[in-house]
């Protein structure tokens, strides 16, 4: 199989990630739940992963790296823990339901006002609108770093400048960019960076987290056992414990830690260069095929994603034909990005998303081009 659904999850993981998970399952106790050898080993693994993640994203303090089960949980934690009744929030048409649904719920249940920076037909944002939409009670801008549908990058420097000028927090969904692009949360002025471990970071599913700027106080989404301050009736106030009730996924975090080692060994700029080279090779091969419509803006830096349609064919049928007849894995449909599809005019048809990773090859890319050409000629 040629796997081109890396925006959903990277299928191919570095072997050391798999081995790290297996070794942790053989030997790790419960982290932060004792001082015997196997518990300490788990605690050391988790601490090491925090330090590596902090360094990777330029989060100044490892104790402000919080682990969650995925980026959705991280976003829910940040959004629900920071946005108060009566607040105003600015977000964008590019967002995934992991951002939209928590915000819609706050609008319905906490009298939170929402405004959206619209996307144009190429999936681009008008950055001036972030400032124009700002209100005295704007609590946060919540936005993705890259559209999971088009791969268009959001210029976080411009968004951050608007947030700072308006006194709002900046919460970033890095689901499509963590591990694929260098991210410096200090330089970019990010207050909360939410990431998943199983996509570009090439770690196991069930891992993710948030990096929190010092001074940003997030109320816990869940409370419970922490291994410390057990007789206190309330959740400990200190990060990361305040947001980490219950046993952590230390086995998965061990794999994530090994994955970060692997990324550092190669270098994220090198990974980004290879992934985007494959994406652009694919783009060059398909964009001029009669009947093929490609979505997004390819004029600048971007994530390694190409979304397209062939004529008026149902995107699910095209994706199924790619899988059944060519052995190529893609993602059709709505991609949990309803506003983005509406902006592109693909709400009914959906789109077929091809997303590339470090482990893909030029030969695989060329096979995908040939498959699209043959399907377009049918």
């Amino acid at each position: 199989m040629i796997y081109l659904d890396n925006a959903a999850t990277t299928l191919h993981k570095p072997p050391q990630v798999i081995e790290a998970v297996a070794e942790a399952m053989r030997s790790s106790g419960n982290p932060a739940r004792g001082a015997h050898g196997s518990s300490l080993q788990a605690s050391r693994t988790v601490y090491g992963a925090r330090a590596k993640i902090a360094a990777l994203f330029h989060c100044p303090r490892p104790d402000h790296v919080v682990f969650t089960s995925n980026v959705t949980e991280a976003l829910n934690t940040a959004i629900n823990g920071l946005i108060r009744p009566g607040d105003h929030v600015i977000t964008t048409d590019l967002e995934h339901n992991s951002v939209l649904r928590p915000l819609y719920r706050l609008a319905a249940e906490r009298d939170v006002a929402l405004d959206f920076v619209p996307a144009d037909r190429r999936g681009n944002l008008d950055y001036a609108m972030f400032s124009q939409l700002m209100r005295p009670n704007t609590r946060a801008i919540v936005c993705t770093h890259a559209s999971n549908l088009t791969g268009n990058l959001v210029d976080l420097r411009q968004v951050s400048a608007a947030a700072r000028a308006g006194g709002a927090l900046l919460i970033v969904d890095a689901a499509q960019t963590a591990g694929c692009l260098p991210i410096d949360m200090e330089a970019l002025g990010i207050d909360v960076l939410c990431f998943t471990g199983h996509k570009g970071l090439m770690g196991p599913q069930g891992t993710g987290g948030l990096c929190v700027r010092a001074g940003v106080e997030i109320a816990p989404l869940k409370v419970g056992g922490t291994g410390v301050q057990s007789y206190s009736p309330t959740q400990p106030a200190e990060y990361p414990t305040r947001l980490e009730a219950g046993t952590l996924n230390a086995h998965g975090i061990a794999g994530l830690s090994a994955a970060v080692d692997y990324l550092n060994e190669i270098g994220i700029p090198a990974i980004h260069e290879k992934e985007t080279a494959l994406m652009r090779r694919f783009l060059r091969g398909v964009r001029d095929i009669p009947g093929v419509t490609v979505y997004g803006d390819f004029s600048g830096d971007r994530a390694a994603i190409v979304a397209l349609n062939i004529r008026d064919y149902d995107s699910g049928e095209v994706s199924d034909a790619l899988a059944q007849d060519y052995g190529i894995a893609t993602r059709p449909g709505a991609h949990c990005a309803p506003r983005m599809h509406r902006a592109l005019g693909t709400e009914q048809q959906g789109a077929v998303r091809f997303s590339f990773s470090w482990y893909n090859t030029e030969a695989e890319t060329d096979q995908a081009i040939r498959a699209v050409r043959e399907l377009a000629e049918e």
């Binding site: 932060a32 001082a35 925090r50 104790d63 410390v228």
Partner: protein, 78 residues
């Protein structure tokens, strides 16, 4: 039980600080190790840094230099 000796104990509000203490101490040759939090300090669970009482100054300095959050510094027979 083992023979008790005078020890200095540093307790922390979160496990991450205890792990950071261990990491920093290993890198800088600070004496001590992580142990379960004695019930005399708190009946809760958790872990703390334990070192000979003669190393109290070095241990406290290490925690300061590492920028750790310390809940308390205790002396006791352990």
């Amino acid at each position: 039980m083992r023979k008790r000796e005078p020890r200095v104990i540093l307790s922390f509000p979160a496990t991450v600080d205890a792990m950071s203490m261990e990491s920093y101490s290993a890198a800088h040759g600070v004496p001590g190790r992580l142990i379960p939090l004695p019930t005399a300090i708190s009946a809760g669970c958790g872990m703390c840094w334990c070192a000979p009482i003669t190393d109290r100054e070095a241990v406290e300095r290490a925690a300061r230099d590492a920028g750790l959050r310390v809940s308390g510094v205790h002396e006791m027979m352990l």
